[in-house]
């Protein structure tokens, strides 16, 4: 389709363009209307449900507004922002979030890629294996969180029961500072390794066979083949998967809410969980909005990276 539908102007048939035959011109007009009529409702919904609330939050982030206390919203300038950026409490949560995001995404990338690689080398049962591996990813975080909480219970949990049968001692999975964060990472990894696996598998199966055949004629070593053929071809796709997971992990809330509710103490409180507490325990809506806007900025940076790589990938 080369007919360019201009949405900038309503002037019929831009004078500068070469004159099209009359019936086509009328068709163009319809095309333009059609495009607007088809796109506008979706965009309007997004403007109303995403952009408008976000702008509202932006406005509130400069005030001391509280959703329950009522009263007028007093302008406090950048007060909320400086308070958040200098708060030791927030720094603590930022570190926790960073450890969690890096730990979980790294672990699931390594595992997910390994599984994908192993599956891609099988010829039989590939479809069934893939489907089975994907189950955790399809479950609701509520189900995942609740059930892992049961399995990791120090007294009745099946994990400690198995460790016991192996002669190992009980581990307090959810109630010690280190193990609680590790548990969170493990559960997230369990749920999302399939995601990386799925995408890595898509990349691996797309590697043209002839490249390997050429390499085997050269009697190249396994590792050499992997490094020079497989990895470079799968890498861009894997990077997309990693970025996607990083964004999702950064937004994580439900798993923390159910698995540890931030404990012990506040050692598994992520930024998302902290925003929730500011917003709904004290109803400090202004502060929570500023906090949220700052988080959105981080997500936007990550999303930009994601989209840039995606673009590159599509152009190649």
């Amino acid at each position: 389709m080369s007919d360019r539908v201009s949405l900038t102007t309503d002037r019929p048939g831009r004078a500068a363009t070469p004159k099209p035959p009359a019936p086509v011109r009328s068709r163009r007009l319809t095309d333009r209307r059609l495009a607007v009529a088809f796109i506008a409702p979706a965009l309007l919904l997004l403007l109303g449900m995403s952009v408008f609330p976000l702008l509202w939050a932006l406005y509130l982030s400069f005030t001391d507004y509280s959703a329950t206390r009522g009263g007028p919203a007093n302008f406090v300038g950048f007060g909320n922002y400086t308070a958040i950026l200098t708060s030791a409490q927030v720094h603590l949560r930022a570190v926790t979030t960073l450890v969690y995001v890096v730990g979980a995404v790294t672990l699931q990338t390594v595992l997910g890629f390994t599984i994908a690689y192993l599956i891609s080398r099988r010829t039989r049962g590939r479809g069934l294996l893939t489907t089975l591996f994907l189950v955790p990813m399809m479950l609701s975080p509520v189900v995942v969180g609740l059930f892992w909480r049961f399995m990791l219970d120090a007294q009745f949990g099946v994990v400690n029961s198995m460790l016991g049968s192996l002669g190992l001692g009980q581990v307090e999975w959810l109630t010690r500072q280190r193990t609680a964060l590790i548990s969170l990472i493990v559960v997230d990894t369990w749920q999302w390794t399939p995601f990386i696996m799925l995408i890595a598998l898509a990349g691996l199966t797309a590697v043209p066979k002839y490249l390997y055949e050429a390499a085997s004629i050269d009697r190249a070593s396994e590792w050499f083949r992997f490094r020079t053929i497989t990895l470079p071809l799968v890498w861009p796709l894997l990077l997309i998967a990693v970025l996607f997971r990083a964004i999702e992990a950064f937004r994580l809330f439900d798993l923390v809410y159910i698995l540890t509710s931030g404990g012990p103490g506040v050692s598994t409180e992520t930024l998302s969980f902290h925003v929730y507490k500011v917003a709904f325990l004290g109803f400090n809506t202004g502060t929570a909005s500023a906090y949220g806007i700052l988080m959105v900025l981080v997500v936007i940076v990550l999303t930009q990276l994601y989209l840039r790589y995606l673009n590159k990938l599509k152009e190649d």
């Binding site: 403007l47 329950t68 708060s87 007294q155 404990g263 103490g265």
Partner: protein, 467 residues
């Protein structure tokens, strides 16, 4: 809006809209002078049309008991009324009520608020002022004054008293306190009398019975779990949560008595609990008792009914067998005899339709009558009227009911201020951290005092509230 690409201009327009809406909203709905509206002194004429009176509570057996009881008994006087008790997860209870209050629209007519929520609800004008209604309709002399004050009065009463000049915003629905649950077959029929005795009995029991831990109590960082545990020990060891008239916590909570209480909790009691019990709340403590894994446990009385259910217990196949092993007693004393005040009151939503508010008032008047209170006791509820508490209907309904009746004069509540939700979160997370080795007892207590003081003092600060 036909030009999706004019995002810049649109943005500006939307921003303007947002500002206007927020500003207008501020004028229209959020008038700061409109604190708690008054309920009429006499009950207005009731409707004869079918009407559903909705309550909001959290998910636990008393909620179902209330719905069943009210539909059976209240229908006898008001056949056109149906009672519906909506329940939310305990962890979400405060949020669920106050987000609706914030919306200035509630799907419930009667909020069952925790006593400490009253300050927040009154200050924001979310519930009706019942002072005049109570004067005309309720026999206040029938109650222990502190019970009436705890579930209704704001500003908060002094422990054990009621200020008759203060306003009332609610009436008692369900009384509650902690009971000590002990294994008669393991530590003997006679319950420990002091906190020291209790700890040594637990120590001995744990040593004598491998696989059974000495103690089980609330340690979780959600709701008010770990906070109530510390507050209880704090009270027993002669500490104070705050100096209410001067709004001082720093230096009060973490004084010598407060420190000792934290030491006792973390260094003497915690080592006697099961491994990994650091996130236990009501249900986990119940499970430990029912599985025969705890010598002595502490739990809310209203949540203890399930312990006598043979289907959920390994302690016996009949209620009698279980009762042969489980004893229920008032909390041991040490420097004081204080016990935590639990339970909840009924509070009328300011945003409920007039007909429903009238019905709610009528329900409350009906509910607080002597014979209805006794029936409520027989149905598994915990009444508040003194005559009902002394009645055989109540005392015979459960082995722990006498514990409640004996505990009434010993009760102490937490802070009932608008900042409650944040205060309790600070205490929960820090006590939980101390119990699980993430902080030293002293550091945790000092952090609680400092952070709570910050919350109380932060009203005049510009920006960053709530961090």
């Amino acid at each position: 809006m036909r030009h999706p690409q004019r995002i810049g201009r649109l943005t500006a327009a939307l921003l303007l809209m947002a500002t206007t809406v927020a500003a207008c909203g501020g004028d229209k709905d959020d008038d700061p002078t409109a604190s708690a509206p008054k309920a009429p002194a006499t009950i207005p004429e009731l409707t004869t049309d079918p009407l559903t009176l909705s309550f909001i509570w959290f998910e636990w057996p008393p909620a179902q008991a209330l719905e069943a009881f009210a539909n059976k008994e209240y229908k006898k006087v008001r056949p056109n009324a149906t009672i519906k008790v909506n329940t939310v997860p305990n962890a979400n209870w405060h949020d669920a009520m106050f987000t609706q209050f914030a919306a200035r629209k509630t799907d419930f007519d009667v909020a069952i608020l925790d006593s400490q929520h009253i300050g927040e609800a009154v200050t924001n004008g979310n519930i009706l002022d019942l002072t005049d209604f109570v004067k005309n309709n309720i026999d206040v002399n029938a109650y222990n004054p502190y019970l009436l004050a705890a579930y209704g009065q704001f500003p908060q009463a002094e422990t054990g008293q009621r200020d008759e000049n203060a306003s009332l915003y609610g009436l008692p629905l369900l009384g509650d306190t902690w009971t000590m649950i002990y294994r008669k077959d393991l530590i003997g029929d006679k319950p420990p009398q002091t906190w020291d005795e209790m700890i040594s009995a637990a120590e001995k029991c744990q040593a004598d019975n491998p696989g059974v831990s000495g103690l089980a109590f609330h340690q979780a960082n959600g709701s008010d779990a770990a906070a109530v545990t510390y507050n209880t020990v704090n009270g027993v060891y002669g500490g104070n949560l705050w100096d209410a008239p001067n709004r001082k916590i720093e230096g009060v909570l973490n004084d010598a008595a407060g420190q000792e209480a934290m030491e006792v909790l973390v260094n003497r009691m915690k080592p006697l609990t099961a491994k990994g019990s650091g996130n236990w709340f009501i249900d986990e403590v119940n499970a430990a008792v029912a599985q025969g894994k705890a010598c002595i446990a502490f739990n809310w009385i209203a949540a203890s009914g399930g312990l006598l259910d043979p289907k959920q217990s390994t302690l016996g196949t009949t209620r009698e067998q279980i009762l042969g092993k489980l004893g229920f007693a008032t909390l041991p004393k040490q420097k004081t005899d204080l016990v935590p005040l639990g339970g909840m009151g009924m509070h009328v939503s300011a945003y409920s339709p007039a007909a429903n508010q009238a019905e709610a008032l009528n329900f409350m008047k009906w509910f607080e009558q002597a014979d209805i209170q006794k029936k409520w006791a027989a149905a598994g509820g915990v009444p508040s009227r003194t005559d009902a508490l002394a009645s055989p209907e109540f005392l015979d309904a459960g082995p722990f009911n006498k514990v409640y009746a004996d505990s009434v004069p010993r009760m102490r509540d937490m802070w009932n201020v608008p900042e409650y939700a944040r205060l309790v979160d600070i205490e929960n997370t820090n006590v939980n951290a101390a119990l699980n080795g993430a902080k030293s007892p002293k550091a945790a207590l000092d952090d609680i005092a400092k952070q709570q003081q910050d919350v109380l003092d932060s009203s005049g600060r510009k920006g960053g509230g709530g961090l």
